[in-house]
């Protein structure tokens, strides 16, 4: 602390060098950060996964299920007539549960907001274990009818119903097993979870209703999505709401039991390839890492499992991709055995999942980089920001001392600008509420309109109001903004590393360049470039370019993504939109370029 508070400390030689060469140091830190990240993909750096929780004992039990016949029969029945209906086949499902001597229940929920009113039903059956119903495990399948454009999940449902019959006859269950069939994808899952825990996570648009029966605290959940009865491989998906991840033990458990039952399994749709040359292995790992980062960054769950994480329930999605007809395939029998093995292992658990990592990046199906390894990437970006801020501050003070002006820095003006920036941020945060109040046109146009207006505000207000402040205030504001951005990246990086790192990679160099030393117009363009909405536009259009075949226009795609983000906030209580509005947008406003005269003063100062 003394280093920071003692004025004489800043005049030491190392500090002088640091201040003088800080641009080089910042550049090196940025480059180092990228290199470090690339190194994570190397097998020399990342480590092999292992099971921390001894009680799981994966693959130690003899699995006895043989579901092929039952599951096939149920699947045939479903394909014959069940899937034709638009809504979830309540009676058929309940009959199946009753035939397996499992009590089943219906859960009704309604989603109503400015976008309209929808209602749905979830069906669930509870296999009661021998305990006192204070712990449970969930197996869930999203129901999709034949008309649903998404890939079918009927084979998964067939496996679930078949394994229900098998599980019911076993007497070793210490926990209740909940078999859950949800409707309307994630909305149904969210409604069920809210009803189970008696809470409401969003803004109240989702009326989650009541549940008739429960099974105690849920320890883990597996979401099963099989697209065919001939499966090429099972992909394990982990990313959850707000970028939360399940405990690594569960992910390992799934992957390990898959490999024990000889089910081809992948992470990020990439299978482990043994004995690759080291360069190719590095490339392979880097691809897996990057796709995990891209999946986690938006903070949107990539399957129904992602909604469990908030409730402290570890869960993953097992997605079985259809075989293309040639090569080896996995049958429902094998998937059934994997499920059985998984549930037997979780049934062994005495404590909740807590042993292994909650923060990790998978680099292969059996390798990962832990939080201690990947955090330095983010740390280096933040360090660059802090060093830049520090150097500017020292410069400013030295210059002030030389000019023998007023020594006490008057930061009232800076604070006012900061407050205005945050006011804009909070205004943008209210955007989704404004959308829900308005009634014109459709919700997509409304969202687009509201957020465009808000962005325009965030753009015009600093340009109109900020020129009233003095040059000194501007310099201080810039220094504070750098520190603020660094702190923000640090905080976000703690919960959602991917988001912090990917945004940091773009925003950090630009914000380092933004100090008005020269080329005022270029800086202005750079500033516009890192506006959250512009960044989103860039991301959306690059996704569109990458995919190529989309028919929607870029503006439409942007509106869609805004609407989805807003709905995520309203229904699931996702924090991404709010974080971007309140934090990222505010910090962006504080980076506003100064007007010409202030610019020249600041430019003079730095030179």
């Amino acid at each position: 602390m003394a280093l920071l508070t003692d004025p004489s400390g800043l005049k030491g030689k190392p500090f002088k060098i640091l201040v003088k060469r800080h641009k080089l140091v910042c550049f090196l830190l940025y480059v180092m950060s990228i290199i470090w990240f690339l190194c994570l993909a190397s097998d020399q750096i990342n480590s092999a996964t292992y099971l921390s929780e001894n009680a799981l004992l994966p693959g130690l039990v003899v699995v006895g299920s043989d579901l092929q016949k039952d599951a096939k029969a149920i699947l045939r029945e479903m394909e014959d007539y069940v899937l034709d209906g638009e809504s979830i086949p309540e009676d058929w499902l309940r009959e199946k549960f009753t035939l397996a001597f499992v009590e089943s229940f219906v859960h009704n929920f309604t989603l109503s907001g400015s976008f309209g009113t929808y209602s749905g039903k979830n069906i669930y059956g509870i296999i009661r274990g021998g305990g006192a119903s204070n712990e449970a495990i969930v197996l869930s399948v999203p129901y999709r009818s034949r008309n649903n454009p998404a890939e079918t999940t009927a084979p998964g449902l067939a496996v679930m119903l078949a394994i229900t019959q098998y599980f019911r006859k076993q007497k070793y269950w210490a926990k209740d097993i909940i078999m859950l069939v949800t409707e309307h994808e994630q909305v149904g899952m969210q409604a069920w979870l809210e009803a189970y825990h008696g809470v409401s996570c969003g803004t109240g648009v989702l009326q989650s209703g009541e549940l008739e029966a429960r099974g105690g605290a849920i320890q883990a959940a597996i979401n099963l999505e099989l697209h065919s009865d001939f499966i090429k491989y099972v992909d394990v998906k982990v990313s959850g709401l707000n970028g939360q991840l399940p405990n690594l033990d569960l992910v390992n458990l799934v992957l390990r039991i898959c490999s024990k039952e000889r089910v081809r399994h992948t992470f990020a749709n990439k299978e482990k390839i043994h004995n690759l040359p080291s360069y190719e292995q590095w490339q392979h790992s880097l691809e897996i890492m990057t796709s995990m980062l891209l999946a986690q960054a938006p903070g949107v769950p990539d399957g129904n499992h992602g909604l469990f994480h908030r409730f402290g329930i570890e869960s993953v999605t097992m997605e079985g991709h259809a075989s293309n007809g040639n090569g080896p395939y996995v049958t429902l029998h094998h998937v059934g055995r994997v499920i059985e093995g998984l549930f037997r292992s979780i049934n062994n658990l005495l404590e909740r999942f807590h042993q292994s990592y909650f923060f990790y990046i998978m680099t292969d199906t059996d390798r990962f980089a832990s939080i201690g390894l990947y955090m330095p990437c983010n740390g280096m970006l933040i360090a660059a920001l802090f060093i830049r801020a520090f150097s500017l501050y020292v410069d400013m003070r030295l210059e002030r001392e030389d000019a023998s002006q007023d020594v006490d820095p008057n930061i009232a003006g800076t604070c006012t600008m900061f407050l205005i920036a945050h006011a804009i941020g909070f205004m943008a945060d209210a955007g989704s509420n404004i959308v829900s109040v308005l009634t014109f046109a459709n919700s997509r146009i409304r969202t687009m309109a509201v957020y465009s207006v808000l962005s325009a505000f965030s753009f015009i207000i600093p340009l109109l109001v900020f020129p009233r402040f003095k040059g000194k205030d501007w310099s201080m504001l810039h220094i504070l903004s750098l520190v603020y951005l660094g702190t923000l990246l640090m905080c976000v990086g703690m919960s959602n590393f991917s988001f912090a790192y990917l945004t940091g990679l773009v925003i950090t160099p630009i914000s380092l360049l933004l100090y008005p030393a020269s080329k005022r117009h270029w800086k202005f363009i750079l500033w516009i470039l890192i506006h959250p909405l512009v960044l989103l536009l860039i991301v959306v259009s690059s996704v569109k370019l990458y995919r190529g075949f989309d028919t929607v226009s870029i503006v439409e795609a942007l509106a869609n993504s805004l609407l989805l983000a807003s709905l995520d906030y309203q229904i699931y209580g996702s924090g991404m939109l709010r974080m971007v509005c309140v934090a990222y947008l505010s910090v962006w406003v504080t980076f506003a370029p100064p007007p010409k005269d202030r610019h020249n003063i600041m430019k003079k100062k730095i030179n």
Partner: protein, 601 residues
């Protein structure tokens, strides 16, 4: 001397004679009720002893188990109820049991009037019971003991007609241990309390291989002093030992609903216990008329029709004392038309309850109990919640809603808990509106525990015992309880009353408090922090404190002050002497400069 021996023998004969004519009797009963997909069997072993309940009663026992008697005598117990249960009774599927018990262990007792130091007696009693039944009842202490004011009432001589009358709660202690695991180690000492042990009679069926194959099993010991007639002119004591078992057809017989004693208990019935006055088996055959018909074998049973509270049940009664088989025999139920169809006509019970935790995270949460009344008239209930101290509840968040409308409790008793001392105790008297679902919810904050207070396997979570709901049912649908003025299960036949009291217990909850990661890195961090703190303390002192030379006079302390006082006095004397030697020198400056004197030291 000889005369003395003669007298002594006469005395002894007298003693034996009185014990021989002791008016005690022992009854064995087994009640089997096929439920929907399950089968409920309830054993009741009753010892009734007609005697005044006085202090030296258990010096000579005949049928009454002496170890039990000694505990009762030593701890001044008036009435005792104890249950050890694995699994949870599912009211919606199974109706009401004869005796309800929550998961884990539960004990409650009234002490005799004028008992002093009841809390200490209670600790001793639970300690003794823990030894008697090999259960961890010794974990009962003030942190999990409450004295309910209205929920429980004495069932023996002190029985009160209404629940709203005072129940002498100052003598009542109640506790439950929801985490207690019940197994064969509890059964073995429990069965030793029976007069015939497991050697003869119905108790031979309690074969631990088979009875732990159930989805619910509960051991019970209930002791109370009773009146033996209506006017209470004859008094006695009663000990009821019970076992409740629920078998799951799917697990024991792949859903074949044909059952037999052999299939359930792994062995046939043998000779009745010779000490038992009666030994009967009652099988509920009511479903024989409504569903698929079946036959019972052997057929030498009496059919009893019991009409109670508008419900008619048919019972097949076997008198095992009069069966007259030489070896082991079986009782089995055979279906004439093959196995039952899967269509289930379940009549849910009138009042049922469900309890759950609300909220997520480890900051705050809530407990919600929803109670269903399926009857067409309002029903009064008493809800008892004992909430552990480590969740601090807020009384202002207590909300009672019935079908969405605010319901005002008739009576509310709340006894706030105290950290590390006693749990929160909440009792509510409610009138459930007809055909309604009433939810009682209360919010709480999770607290942080001291690190030594975490149990082994800390991440498993903490248990909060279930709530208990005492309901006054107008009809006896699904009701099997024994009226409190009687002892035997057979007394419940045709026992119509004005109302039927049933006690429901709900799910236990697992509460996840913020738990440190008790792993190796955690320990390393703790150690490192300690070392840093130890190093930091002196460094902080050195760098931040100003050094001031203190005066000798300001020295304080038990020893220092008198010593410094003495030294001062000596100095004074010396200076006085100096003064007298050299009167020209001014002494006051020297004396009044404490710094100099301290630096000299």
């Amino acid at each position: 001397m000889d005369y003395f021996f003669v007298l002594y023998f006469i005395f002894l004969i007298r003693v034996f004679k009185t014990s021989a004519i002791k008016k005690d009797e022992y009854h064995e009963e087994l009640f089997i009720k096929p439920l929907d997909g399950f089968i409920y069997s309830y054993f009741q072993f009753t010892t009734i002893w007609e005697t005044p309940f006085k202090n030296d009663l258990f010096d000579h026992c005949h049928l009454f188990p002496r170890p039990m008697g000694e505990i009762i005598q030593r701890h001044n117990v008036q009435e005792l109820h104890l249950s050890l249960t694995k699994g949870i009774w599912r009211y919606n599927a199974w109706g009401y049991p004869v005796k309800s018990a929550p998961p884990g262990a539960e004990v409650w007792a009234w002490f005799k009037p004028n008992t002093t130091n009841i809390d200490a007696k209670w600790r001793e009693l639970t300690g003794a019971l823990s030894g008697l039944l090999c259960a961890s009842l010794n974990f009962i202490d003030s942190q999990n003991t409450i004295s309910p004011r209205i929920s429980l009432r004495p069932e023996g001589i002190e029985a009160k007609p209404s629940h709203l009358e005072p129940n002498s709660h100052e003598r009542l202690r109640y506790s439950s241990l929801p985490r207690e695991i019940v197994c064969t180690e509890n059964l073995t000492p429990w069965k030793k309390l029976l007069p015939c042990n497991l050697k003869r009679g119905l108790s031979t069926l309690l074969n631990s291989d088979n009875i732990y194959n159930t989805v619910y099993h509960s051991l019970g010991v209930h002791f109370r002093p009773i009146c033996l007639d209506k006017l209470c002119s004859r008094k006695g004591i009663e000990l009821v030992q019970t076992v409740s078992l629920v078998y799951d057809y799917v697990i024991i017989s792949d859903n074949d609903p044909q059952w037999s004693i052999l299939r359930l208990f792994g062995q046939g019935l043998g000779k009745a216990c010779p000490l038992a006055k009666t030994a009967n088996i009652y099988i509920d055959i009511t479903s024989n008329q409504t569903g698929t018909s079946f036959t019972l074998k052997p057929s030498n049973y009496k059919v009893l029709t019991s009409t109670r509270g508008g419900q008619t049940t048919k019972l097949a009664a076997f008198d095992t004392k009069a069966m007259g088989y030489a070896g082991l025999y079986n009782i089995e139920m055979r279906f004439s038309k093959g196995p039952l169809s899967v269509v289930r006509n379940r009549v849910p019970p009138i009042v049922s309850a469900e309890r759950s935790l609300t909220g997520y995270g480890q900051e705050f949460g809530g407990i919600k109990t929803s109670i269903k009344n399926r009857y067409r008239a309002p029903i009064k209930i008493i809800l008892l919640e004992a909430i552990p101290w480590y969740v601090s509840v807020y009384l202002h968040t207590l909300k009672v809603f019935s079908n969405g409308i605010d319901l005002k409790p008739i009576k509310r008793v709340f006894h706030p808990g105290r950290e590390r001392e006693r749990p929160h105790q909440l009792e509510l008297v409610l009138e459930l509106p007809p055909k309604s679902v009433t939810t009682v919810s209360i919010q709480f904050d999770y607290t942080f525990l001291k690190w030594l207070e975490y149990p082994p396997d800390a991440h498993h979570g903490f248990y909060a015992g279930g709530s208990s709901i005492t309901a006054f049912l107008p009809v006896a649908r699904n009701y099997t309880g024994v009226p409190i003025q009687y002892s035997l299960f057979s007394s419940s036949i045709n026992a119509s009353e004005r109302g039927y009291v049933v006690r429901l217990t709900t799910e236990t909850l697992i509460i996840s408090l913020a738990t440190p990661d008790f792993s190796m890195p955690y320990n390393v961090i703790c150690l490192a922090c300690t070392v840093v703190a130890l190093a930091f303390g002196p460094l902080h002192n050195i760098t931040t404190k100003r050094f001031v030379v203190s005066s000798e006079k300001e020295k304080k302390g038990l020893l220092r002050s008198p010593i410094s006082y003495l030294i001062d006095q000596v100095k004074k004397l010396r200076t006085n002497r100096n003064a007298s030697e050299d009167s020209t020198q001014n002494l006051s400056t020297n004396e009044n400069d404490p710094k100099e004197s301290s630096t000299e030291k």
